[in-house]
């Protein structure tokens, strides 16, 4: 009965429904997009009505928002933070800097393509995306979660070597990342 496919399906549906309606966002502001989060959260756009709410530490958070350009220095911390988050976890790339470097396309210390280093579930484009776009991004993420397609963490786990190798290519072996112990 418990291992029955239908009951598994129902359980998955309920779990996904809960995850979809309770998105705790890690307050880790990188780049200039962090300034778009307060209007999204406060009275005017009120993301809390969708169940989106801030979480103070990675242990409690579900979603990591990369709000803009990532310097190589920050990238190490972001990856560390991502690895400290508990499954299931999602990443939202925010603004054109995370997609293709944006206006920092020729900068010597920002990465251009976020999904080489982190499994991005949803990109929100714009420079910067307005709160409406952010809400649309959250809605898209909710849709993916409900459909069971937001499997970034799974991807990261499976291709851990690939992602870590990409990181190594930038930072070299100078910076010691603790081995991620799954």
């Amino acid at each position: 009965m418990i291992n029955d496919k239908n009951s598994q399906k129902i359980a998955d549906f309920i779990k996904n429904w809960a995850r979809k309606h309770s998105i705790w966002v890690l307050a880790y502001g990188t780049g200039c997009g962090a300034i778009e989060i307060p209007p999204t959260m406060t009275s005017r756009y009120d993301a809390e009505r969708l169940g989106v709410r801030g979480a103070a530490t990675p242990r409690q958070a579900d979603v990591l928002l990369i709000t803009g350009y990532l310097t190589t220095k920050t990238l190490k911390r972001v990856i560390r933070v991502y690895e400290q988050m508990q499954d299931p976890k999602y990443v939202i790339g925010f603004g054109s800097c995370t997609i293709n470097g944006g206006m920092y396309y020729d900068s010597y210390n920002t990465i251009k393509v976020l999904d080489k280093y982190l499994p991005v579930d949803v990109y929100i484009n714009g420079c910067m995306p307005r709160p409406e776009a952010v809400l649309a991004g959250f809605a898209k993420l909710q849709q993916l979660i409900q459909e069971g397609k937001a499997t970034g963490a799974q991807k990261y786990k499976e291709n851990h070597e690939y992602y870590r190798g990409n990181l190594r290519k930038i930072i070299g072996n100078k910076y010691e990342m603790p081995l991620y112990n799954w």
């Binding site: 880790y28 530490t57 990675p58 242990r59 190490k76 911390r77 972001v78 990856i79 560390r80 933070v81 400290q84 499954d87 010691e176 990342m177 603790p178 112990n181």
Partner: protein, 615 residues
């Protein structure tokens, strides 16, 4: 009744043998030491009933030794703690020098405490009291640190107490012609009023010094923290109870007889309350575990003094129960500090962190005794606190209860500091070599912690002898009125039943522990304390992130106004004043013959002037 003599003979022989034969061989010394304790302990627990006693005459003075149901309670504490801390001491002191002196002194202290409890006359009481004081003084200065500061403070205050007591004894003997305590109590109502007030105050001064009552407590923090921890376990657990023992006798049997003697009790109770509150605040401030526990001991003794000074049946039960509990958990905590210090080499919270995974059994003992100290159910500390509050409410001491409550709530702060400082926090590489303390040290701690647990569920086990002792002091039996085996009642008939609480606590705890463990068992993993969410920063090996400096700073800022003045300062200014006075008197002796001649002339003139009124 021969048993009492046998015990003392074994003690004296054991002390001598440990001292002299102990110089030869360490193993022999330990065996002699433990054998003495074991033999006396065995004799005590099997051969002595609370009615046995002997009388004898020396130099025409009748003296007596014997044990009363009341002193039996304290004898249990002393003997039990001596046995356990003795076992602990053998291992803990392994690498020290001059050990035959230490162990002989240890035995001497135990003997003198038993002697105090066995004495039925004031002379032997005083002699044993002095032996206790001196043997503990040698222990305070045993480590050789701060002898000037700590040892002199201790011996000075002990001397003040002893002289006060001696004075009282001389008065008593000159009035009654007998030194038997029973005669003194029976004849006390015949004394004149001045003596009726003076003698109890003198005696209370003597006992107050040992039980670290507020203005007389100055010696305690230094002395407790300076002696070896295996001895402090007994020093704080048992030796300080001698003061309580004497205090109870004075307050209940003697002060009762004074008209308006009620006021002495009130003042002592308030002094106990202030002691508890202030000592707790100072304990929060300490960074050294020994100092903190020393202040904490002073505070806990404050509670006990409040209980025995109020003196209603429930308060007396509470006070004596807390005395037993304090003996148990405070000895455990001092042993824990000793174990930590032996394994790491320091007892400072700011240095040691994260020992929980290295010393799990020590942590368990510490946790249990801290829960008992904080008075959290279901451990024994709660019973004592509960009875104390109820008795204070029943006897209309409303402000005192607030004061006691304040100090026992503030005690959580240092309780947490103790556990956090040693055992929790970041696990540092510096302490990765630390291992669990040897079994001979851990087992006594765990046994004591187990007693703290047992007495929480079955307080009747120890309330029964306490009840008998109180009946000896003239109380009506409190069985089934204030306590049953695992139920305690207050003055108004409300009760707390410990058994179902215990079941629920264990049941709920185990249920949720199992829930937390089996839910997602495979995906739950252990991570090191370096893997914490520090905004993605990775702490380096040498980076110590533990929060230990200025630990309770916000609280201390809030209570700063009351902590500005230290009693030490007042004593220092008294000392300075006396010095100035002596300095002035020194100037009289100028060394000049002419001046002396002048003095003589002045003296003669004064004599001539006043000769009529003088002669």
């Amino acid at each position: 009744m021969e048993t009492i003599l046998t015990i003392f003979i074994i003690f004296i022989a054991g002390t001598a043998a440990t001292y002299f034969l102990g110089k030869l061989n360490g193993v022999l010394r330990s065996i002699l030491f433990l054998a003495t304790l074991a033999a006396t302990g065995w004799l005590f627990f099997t051969g002595i009933t609370p009615e046995s006693g002997i009388e004898f005459r020396i130099l025409g003075i009748t003296m007596g030794w014997g044990i009363t149901p009341f002193s039996y309670i304290f004898a249990i504490i002393v003997m039990g703690l001596a046995l356990l801390s003795g076992i602990y001491a053998v291992k803990a002191m392994e690498d020290e020098k001059n050990l035959n002196f230490f162990f002989a002194n240890f035995l001497l202290t135990v003997m003198s405490m038993m002697g105090i409890l066995f004495s039925l006359d004031l002379i032997s009481f005083f002699i044993f009291w002095e032996i206790m004081t001196w043997s503990s003084y040698f222990m305070v200065v045993f480590t050789g640190k701060d002898v000037q500061k700590v040892g002199i403070k201790y011996i000075l205050f002990s001397a003040i107490g002893a002289y006060a007591m001696l004075m009282a004894i001389v008065f008593i003997y000159s009035f009654t012609g007998s030194v038997l305590i029973g005669d003194f109590i029976d004849n006390f109502h015949l004394f004149d009023t001045q003596m009726q007030w003076l003698i109890p105050i003198l005696l209370l001064t003597g006992f107050g010094v040992k039980s670290a009552l507020m203005p007389l407590h100055v010696w305690a923090p230094g002395a407790y923290s300076n002696s070896p921890m295996s001895y402090t376990a007994m020093f704080s657990g048992a030796l300080s109870k001698m003061g309580i023992y004497g205090m109870v006798i004075v307050l209940i049997l003697i002060v009762q007889q004074i008209p308006n003697g009620y006021w002495i009790k009130e003042v002592i109770a308030w002094m106990g309350g202030i002691t508890a509150a202030m000592a707790t605040l100072w304990a929060i401030k300490q960074d050294d575990a020994k100092k903190m526990l020393a202040y904490s001991s002073i505070g806990q003794l404050g509670y006990i003094i409040v209980g025995v000074a109020i003196g209603t049946p429930l308060a007396m039960l509470a006070g004596l129960f807390m005395a037993v509990m304090h003996g148990i958990f405070k000895s455990t905590l001092f042993m824990v500090v000793g174990a930590v210090e032996r394994q790491t080499g320091t007892s400072n919270f700011t240095e040691v962190t994260g020992l929980i995974r290295k010393m799990p059994w020590t942590f368990l003992a510490a946790l249990m005794s801290i829960i008992a100290l904080a008075g959290i159910p279901p451990l024994g500390g709660f019973i004592g606190k509960w009875m104390l509050y109820e008795s204070l409410m029943g006897s209309n001491h409303y402000l005192l209860i607030i004061m006691i409550f304040f100090s026992s709530t503030a005690a959580f702060l240092y309780c947490f500091k103790f556990l956090f400082g040693f055992f929790l926090g970041q696990e540092e590489k510096e302490w990765s070599h630390v291992k669990e303390a040897p079994a001979m040290m851990v087992i006594p701690m765990l046994i004591l912690a187990g007693f703290a647990f047992l007495l929480g569920i079955f307080p009747g086990l120890i309330l029964k002898p306490i009840n008998e002792g109180m009946q000896f002091l003239g109380y009506v039996s409190t069985t089934n009125r204030f306590w049953e085996m695992s139920i305690i009642f207050n003055d108004w008939g409300n009760a707390v039943v410990m058994m179902p609480i215990f079941y629920w606590i264990i049941g709920v705890f185990v249920f949720f522990l199992v829930f937390l463990t089996i839910k997602g068992y495979k995906t739950t993993r252990y991570v090191s304390t370096k893997d914490i969410s520090t905004s993605g920063e990775i702490p380096k090996e040498h980076e110590n992130l533990t929060f230990t400096m200025g630990f309770m700073q916000p609280f201390l800022r809030a209570v700063a106004p009351v902590m500005k003045r230290q009693i030490d300062k007042y004593y220092t200014s008294i000392g300075n004043g006396l010095e100035a006075l002596f300095d002035f008197t020194r100037r009289i002796n100028t060394g000049n013959g002419q001046t002396y001649a002048l003095y003589f002339v002045v003296f003669i003139i004064i004599l001539l002037l006043f000769k009529d009124s003088l002669f």
